[in-house]
Amino acid sequence: MKKIATGNKAVAEAIKQANPAVVAAYPITPQTEIVETIADYVTSGQLASRYIPVESEHSAMAACIGASVTGVRTFTATSSHGLLYMHEMTNWAAGARLPIVMANVNRALGPGWNIWAEHTDALQERDTGWLQVYVATVQEAYDATLMAFVIAEHNDVLLPVMVNLDGFSLSHIMQPLDTVEPGDFIPPLHLPHAIDPKNPTSYGGLTGPNDYFRFRWDIERSMRDSVKVIDATQKEFAKRFGRSYGFTDDYRCEDADVVLVSMGTFGKEAEVAIDILRKEGIKAGSMRLRWFRPFPHLDLAGKEIVVVDRDYSFGSGGILAHEIKAQTKKDVYSVIAGIGGQEVTYDDLADFVRKRRMGTEFWFGVNTNV
């Protein structure tokens, strides 16, 4: 059914249909509407989940871990400082191989205190073993949340998945949303290592270097295996519900000389910039990276690359730019823009391409090439 919904409401709608047994969450701007809506569903009887209103995000993730290890579906949502407060537990969730799904509404980190969009919060979680997908429309927030459960709970993955949406620019925008009847698209969860009182086992015990090393490799092996699971899940989703998603969302890239790579809502607005550039005779394309972990293979051979990072690693550079340089072994034009909710328009994005200087870094609004 078509309706108008915010990105936050779209995530909550998907949760109603995914029907997790436990939702443990703590409200934080701009995520609040997700957990408020889920709490409403629970109190009004529309959702049979046990909703645990915890006292902190660290406890939210701990509660999800405790619930998930019993073999039931779990969900939480957070943002920014809330996500970083979870950080110890996000590592635990992945290491314990628990298919927890989380929505993270990307927001800048203080100080200065700032509630607007930035990706540095989620990117600081990149080495935890969580899969990460970044969405750009209300519809995609809904679709990706449904798919996140299928992927996380797949036997070849059994790793947590984080669905990322830009604070305010996606969490609070109202766009058309077409909800589906998922039916058996999300199969029941069978966690092979779930607690079983009839078969007592110890969890989280001291692990020597040799076993620990094997456990770590097993996370990486599953991360690599997740590529085909993501691919199959997205194909199955397209078959059932008619909407196709890839690891990237490519726009006019085939014959492009220069490709603008970004994540989140910039990646959609970039398509408008590409149309403007094409009219000027600049053969440009846009590649919106959806999956950041596992980091996909990017087909950028023979093209100049402009990367827009809505994040930064101090003393190093744009995080996405580094990932792309490492994979392509090529110089890029690295643009740092949109941090802390900085307004970036399609005209600005087009300008980044027009004024590219490969091998340099440009801070939009500061106007110096580093």
């Binding site: 108008i4 607007w116 766009q175 398509e271 307004e343």
Partner: protein, 175 residues
């Protein structure tokens, strides 16, 4: 693409008006996005929300810089805010006011939304509700159809006085 900027004060329903307009446009078979500009909102402070309507999916997320239409739900915001900022040449202005207003170079219409809300007794916490009557005025201006406006209002509100207020504004606005 048709771009609308709505000026109001926190608590007057500008964001809900934007949402209702997007819903009505969707019922008309169009694509629409609505978004509030979020700053440090509080009741009574001037706030802005945006609506985009198009025949194609809308890919723009940045703020509207040069709207086709400016809606002013509370004329007193004009004391401190230049509501005409960026408005396209010959663009439209809709003001909630019982008095006719003119702005050189723009097409200005007025309708007494506050009076309509008070007549219909649409008052919440002491504030007249403006977000449903304004939809009637927008329908009269051809931004969306009257049928879709009623459908959108009924989806969000069970109180039929909201529909009556929209109908009154439709009737009273001189298109």
């Amino acid at each position: 693409m048709f771009e609308i900027r709505i000026h109001s004060r926190g608590g007057q329903g500008g964001v809900t008006a934007a949402r209702l307009l997007a819903m009505a446009a969707l019922h008309d078979g169009k694509y629409a996005t609505a978004c509030p500009f979020y700053g440090a909102e509080r009741r009574g402070a001037p706030v802005v929300s945006f609506v985009r309507i198009d025949d194609h999916p809308i890919k723009v997320y940045s703020q509207i810089r040069d709207p086709d239409l400016v809606v002013v739900l509370d004329a007193s915001v004009m004391d401190t805010i230049d509501v005409l900022n960026g408005l396209k040449k010959g663009g439209n202005v809709l003001i909630n006011s019982a008095h006719k207003q003119e702005f050189a170079g723009f097409v200005t219409r007025n309708v007494d939304l506050t009076g309509i809300a008070l007549r219909e007794n649409l008052v919440v916490a002491g504030s007249p509700i403006l977000n449903t009557p304004v939809l009637g005025a927008l329908a009269k201006m051809g931004i969306c159809s009257a049928g879709s406006v009623k459908k959108a209002i009924r989806e969000m509100f069970s109180d039929e006085r909201n529909v009556k207020a929209a109908e009154a504004a439709y009737k009273e606005l001189i298109a």
